[in-house]
């Protein structure tokens, strides 16, 4: 079997703060094959962005990885020197962020920001070469070349988000992490953007990690889906399979939340209860206080991910007990 492009093993991430430690990510493991795309879904605060940022070693302070390994083509990212890691950023692993409106430096033109990105990885490059390369990428994104000479504030949100993708792709990385790339776009732009992402993924031959709280959106593009809750993966498997046969009660709840034209506004509201406090997480399964099918054991012992059919993995006592 070929080596996966990314293999994350038992990653745990903490934010030590004054009132305690936020256990933002706990024992997360997954792997990603070349050209594959995986979607991470879960409610706000479940640790999706934290996980994404940790892959670039760019956790916001005071965040730190407290355990596990992240193998990128077999090398552990956590063991790299800072300068080696810097060279990897953008060049091998790129990331697109949640908010396109604030992700471009307002004081520099688009061209400047492309040139800077290219130059930081290839000091010999001339401005003209940079402009040519940026122009090609923009063409792929159906953006007019003249936009290069504009400043972020002159561009619409959708345009800026496409430019962020362009900046992500300009160095030909083989892994792109897109953290809620569409949350600040309106629905129509969003649909177009997802199509664009799917197309680029093929053209540039990249693997994709797509982070979102919107299961329906992730399902459109991801081969596999990982459902996160309270810093842990609760269920992971083939996208279609998960949609058709959700096993974890939380996944079922999430699918119930996918907007549907026929639903009225009342029902659209998400599932009852609120995400757990990650400073003092609930004992046992972190979802147990909200789980409609909770059992005694759920409040005592934390379930671990178990393998099921079709490469599905679920962390839930419902199925463990059945064995």
């Amino acid at each position: 079997m070929e080596q996966p492009i990314l293999e994350v093993k038992n990653i745990s991430i903490d934010y030590p703060i004054s009132i305690g430690t936020v256990e933002a990510v706990r024992n997360v493991s997954f792997s990603l094959k070349e050209g594959e795309s995986i979607g991470f879904v879960g409610e706000s605060g479940c640790g999706k962005s934290t996980l994404g940022l940790s892959l670039l070693r760019l956790l916001r302070p005071p965040g730190m990885v407290v355990g596990g390994q992240m193998l990128y083509h077999g090398t552990d990212l956590l063991s790299l020197k800072e300068e080696e890691m810097r060279k990897l950023r953008g060049n091998n692993i790129a990331m697109v962020f949640q908010n396109p409106l604030t992700s471009l430096d307002p004081l520099y033109s688009i061209e400047d920001q492309f040139f800077e990105t290219l130059k930081e990885h290839n000091p010999q490059i001339t401005r003209q070469e940079a402009v040519e390369r940026a122009g090609k990428v923009l063409e792929d994104l159906s953006i007019d070349k003249d936009r290069l000479y504009e400043y972020p504030h002159q561009l619409s949100g959708g345009m800026r988000q496409r430019i962020m993708i362009g900046l992500g792709l300009i160095l030909n990385p083989d892994l792109l992490i897109a953290d809620e790339p569409t949350t600040s776009l309106d629905v129509i732009v969003e649909a177009g953007f997802i199509d664009l992402l799917a197309r680029l993924k093929k053209e540039y031959n990249i693997s994709l990690i797509l982070i979102s709280h919107n299961l329906g959106l992730v399902a459109e593009i991801a081969d596999r889906i990982a459902v996160m809750y309270g810093g842990m993966i609760m269920e992971i498997g083939e996208a279609g399979d998960i949609f058709a046969r959700p096993m974890h009660p939380y996944t079922e709840g999430l699918i119930g939340c996918v907007p549907n034209i026929k639903m009225d506004q009342e029902k659209l509201a998400s599932m009852p209860g609120s995400p757990p406090d990650l400073v003092t997480p609930p004992a046992g399964c972190r979802f147990s206080p909200r789980c409609p099918k909770v059992m005694d054991i759920c409040r005592e012992k934390t379930p671990v991910l178990q393998d099921y059919k079709n490469g599905r993995k679920v962390a839930c006592w419902l199925y463990n007990e059945a064995e």
Binding site: M95, N99, D105, P106, L107, Y108, E116, H121
Partner: protein, 338 residues
């Protein structure tokens, strides 16, 4: 460009009402204050008749309203009038002293930024370390110290104890400024005359007063730069730049500092009035023959027109600086358009 010109002109026109209000206040305060130019000149025991004659000569016997309207009429013709105590035009001492004050405030500002901005940026970059703590302590102390006290301390240390630097005046007594003085900006004049010995003399005289101003005002800029840098370094575009593999140095000093500089510039515009006030005090401490000393002297002599003239010039300087700050904005920030 046309918008820019229109903006500049509007801004200049806007200073007129401000000047008007300021002058009205100064005009009234001067006349309400006990004492007047005549008794200041002739002493308290001059015969009544002489005093009355003098008052009439200066127009001080007319009602205040009339004096006021006359003065405004004069100003409208760009005429600051004559001194009431010396036989000179008001513009004469101002022309002579203004370059000294501009030189002092310019270098004061230079040291303020030279000390304040890099220290603040460095502290932000090294936040929560001993160095950060030390720099913040410096900032808070500098911010609290009164200008004259700082001036006295520097005079004591560098002038009296170490004997490195002169503590008063713009030049040594032996140095004749008439040899090089053309524009009144001595650093510039001495260079123009190619007189390096004089340049050196002028520079060492300038050092302590401008450093005094610089250190005292650097405090607020250390704090401001540090706070802004911390904010900017937390911003999404900084994270995004890092995620593209942009090196830490560029992230901090290209993206970080440039963005943090915008509010610093605002502060600079606002602080300029304080800088001028500081310059007045510094001039007194260092016997610096500038507008501040002139103002002090003429207030004692109750030389109404000269005091008013100095205030007008100060107000114009503040307006010019704030206009320049606005133009700098447009140069730095592409979002600003006039």
């Amino acid at each position: 460009m046309k918008g820019l010109l229109r903006y500049a002109i509007t801004r200049i026109l806007m200073t007129i009402p401000m000047l008007f209000i300021l002058l009205t206040i100064v005009f009234l305060v001067l006349r309400v204050m006990p004492g007047d130019p005549v008794s200041a000149m002739l002493g308290a025991h001059a015969p009544e008749r002489v005093i009355e004659e003098k008052k009439e000569e200066l127009g001080l016997n007319k009602p205040i309203m009339v004096q006021y309207v006359n003065y405004l009429g004069q100003l409208a013709r760009f005429d600051l009038g004559n001194s009431m105590v010396l036989k000179q035009r008001v513009s004469a001492p101002i022309k002579e002293k203004l370059p000294a004050t501009i030189e002092l405030t310019f270098w004061g500002m230079f040291f303020t930024l030279l000390i304040g901005v890099p220290l603040g940026a460095y502290a932000a970059n090294k936040r929560r370390t001993g160095r950060d703590f030390g720099i913040r302590l410096y900032g808070n102390i500098a911010y609290c110290i009164p200008v004259y006290w700082m001036g006295l301390m520097l005079q004591l240390i560098f002038g009296v104890w170490l004997k490195w630097l002169p503590v008063a005046g713009r030049t040594s007594p032996r140095m004749l400024s008439s040899q090089f003085s053309k524009t009144g900006f001595y650093l510039f004049d001495t260079l123009l005359a190619g007189n390096l010995r004089a340049f050196n003399d002028v520079a060492v005289h300038l050092l302590l007063p401008s450093l005094t101003l610089g250190i005292v005002l650097s405090g607020i800029f250390v704090r401001l730069t540090r706070a802004n840098m911390l904010d900017v370094l937390k911003s999404d575009y900084v994270l995004a730049a890092r995620a593209r593999g942009v090196s830490e140095k560029l992230v901090v000093y290209k993206h970080g500092l440039k963005n943090a500089f915008i509010p610093i510039l605002t502060m600079l515009g606002l602080q300029f009035a304080i800088l001028l006030a500081g310059a007045v005090l510094t001039e007194t401490t260092f016997s610096w023959p500038g507008m501040g000393r002139l103002l002090m002297e003429r207030i004692y002599l109750r030389d109404y027109p000269t005091v008013q003239g100095v205030i007008v010039v100060f107000a114009l300087m503040v307006s010019v600086i704030s206009l320049m700050v606005d133009l700098l904005y447009a140069a730095i920030d592409p979002r600003v358009k006039y």
